[in-house]
Symmetry: C2
Subunit: 367 residues, 2 copies
């Protein structure tokens, strides 16, 4: 068994920017979350107002004040691989100070805000379930929040959920669904000097590419937010040698669809889009429904009001969809520009960390 | 220095099918021709009517009878890699006997015919330069015939040339030219959830694929033979990950063009074909002109008559183009179906080996 000496001490009552630094510097690339999970568990256990539960490298801490409602505030503690950008540095940019380094945006600044509020807001107006989970940046089957939903669905019960993914400290509601399809085209190999002996699979793909290049994506209003859809080829591969007529071409398509559409709706739409293409196979390789923003729900409206922001749609798929699937309205709200997530120059403005801390504290205090 | 004991003995006066077997069983994948070249050199040196010259692993043997004309009869001694198909086997197919194994078609049966005739036709009606060369199945810069043309251009002087490449024992005149072009499309990377932040390079390629799929190749009459042209995508590659809008797509195109066209003609035609495609780069990566069949020349007409065959166009590029570039009319004539060349089930009908031996012997005897 590890002794306490191996567990880094975290001061959850420190300045939230310092706390962000401390947890960023505990490297926790997906699969290597144990040390940070240990530190979080150990630090949270010092607070009598919290019940702390562990499942693998996921830590759940909750108040049990008997409030009329309960909210979940969740974040993942893993990151994508480090790109020579740890330990984090405090840099002064032209107009603001930033914390620069892996995890600052996605999403340890959000986790730091969670930790500080979990420790210091001991009497929230709703009961709060704080969730810190593992394996968000890898294949969905490993996702720690998904595992919790299977092992301890009771821990996710709530009337509203906030995911502290980066949103530049604005409320981003719901998320688009995502679907990946491999369009396959077969041909017959032949020497390229005598192509009429074969059939060119890549020429067969031309009609599908033409459909894609000319596709006009729609915008869909869902609960008052406008979701922009998109349909793109993300990969194409065909041919085996420069003197052989290719007998195989695969076009991988990514469809991002509004959260008002079901998986079946999305698949039916794509099948319709490509219905005119001859000799094509259609193979769904990934499909995840989006999440409605739920901004018509009073809990969500109260959150937007308390945080004094204007809600926007989220385009990327996030784990809010897991709450949506459980019937729990959920929004994204956290520090950092999402377009800097995973970037080698990942950096979060410190002003956004403070803004998120302040907004969430206000919401938990006034309801 | 190797001793004679290391050099396999070849009996050039044996049955030509047995001789084919013997030289096929001396493995000579490109780069490993030395042992076979040694055997050929050693065997040819036993004949007083031949002057034998070596350049690397190419062997030249020629008569010097002071005839009014000289012809070249050439073949390469290397093969593509063995596919568990050596030693060769004699198989009885439904209607014919075949020699099965690597090199039987491309082109050791042709080389065996050359060797037997070099040894046994000591008084040909024209002087003959027999050429056995290395490195035909690899990059053009290594080609043994090309090296001979640079080192000893005098050895290639002739009024007519025959290349014993497989043609199913029919005369195939000239060859199409070949040109390979990379069409490049650039875009701007973005997360696939927000594609409007980027530019999809594969969508950019759609217009070019459409042009290719709809291209109608022409047929061109050259010296009485009809050459069928073709234009095909042979490779396409684009994209780096399923959640990233691709910023790069390369479409590799192979154009086979009639031997009446120059390299400049071919390039101008392709640039015209793709002239309407926006934001495309056009990079010629390989370009070799074809060879006119030269069937309007009396030497070629005499060859067709003596071999009692009907001339057809050759579509694949062969080394006859090297003779054509030197102003020497050249045809392909050899045993084996060219579509079996390089195949794992490469096999030559023994009847075609005998037919080629007989036809060439007749031509060398009667003029």
């Amino acid at each position: 068994m590890p002794t306490a000496a191996h567990i880094p001490a975290l001061n959850l009552e420190a300045d939230v920017v310092e706390l962000t630094r401390d947890i960023c510097d505990i490297e926790s690339v997906s699969g290597n979350e144990k040390q940070l999970a240990d530190a979080i568990e150990s630090a949270l256990k010092q607070y009598a107002h919290l019940e702390v539960i562990r499942d693998g490298d996921a830590i759940v801490a909750r108040t049990n004040l008997g409030r009329a409602s309960r909210v979940v505030i969740a974040g993942h503690i893993d990151t994508v691989p480090v790109a020579n950008n740890l330990p984090v540095q405090m840099l002064s940019m032209e107009r603001e100070q930033v914390l620069f380094g892996r995890g600052t945006v996605d999403m340890k600044a959000g986790v730091a805000v969670q930790l500080k509020l979990a420790a210091t807001v001991s009497e929230p107006v709703s009961d709060v379930t704080w969730i810190f989970y593992d394996h968000e940046e890898v294949e969905a089957t490993k996702n720690g929040l998904g595992r919790l939903a299977r092992n301890r669905p009771d821990l996710l019960e709530a009337s509203f959920a906030v995911l502290c993914e980066p949103t530049s400290a604005q409320v981003e509601g719901g998320c688009n669904g995502t679907m990946r399809v491999d369009l396959g085209f077969n041909g017959v190999k032949a020497h390229s000097a005598r192509p009429w002996m074969g059939k060119n699979a890549i020429h067969g793909a031309a009609a599908a590419l033409s459909v894609l290049a000319n596709y006009a994506p729609t915008e869909v209003d869902v609960d008052g937010l406008v979701y922009r859809e998109s349909l793109n080829v993300v990969l194409i591969n065909g041919g085996i040698a420069t003197n052989v007529i290719p007998d195989d071409c695969v076009v991988t398509v990514n469809y991002r669809f509004a959260p008002s559409k079901t998986a079946a709706d999305a698949e039916a739409h794509l099948r319709e889009v490509f219905s005119g293409i001859p000799d094509m196979t259609f193979n769904v390789v990934d499909l995840a429904e989006g999440a409605r923003p739920g901004l018509d729900r009073p809990e969500a409206q109260a959150f937007v009001a308390a945080t004094q922001t204007v809600a926007r749609p989220k385009y990327g798929w996030t784990d809010v969809a897991r709450f949506s699937a459980l019937g729990i309205p959920a929004v994204n709200f956290g520090p950092g520009d999402p377009s800097k997530a995973h970037a080698d120059d990942e950096a979060v403005p410190v002003g956004q960390i403070y803004a998120c801390e302040k907004a969430l504290r206000a919401w938990l205090s006034v309801g």
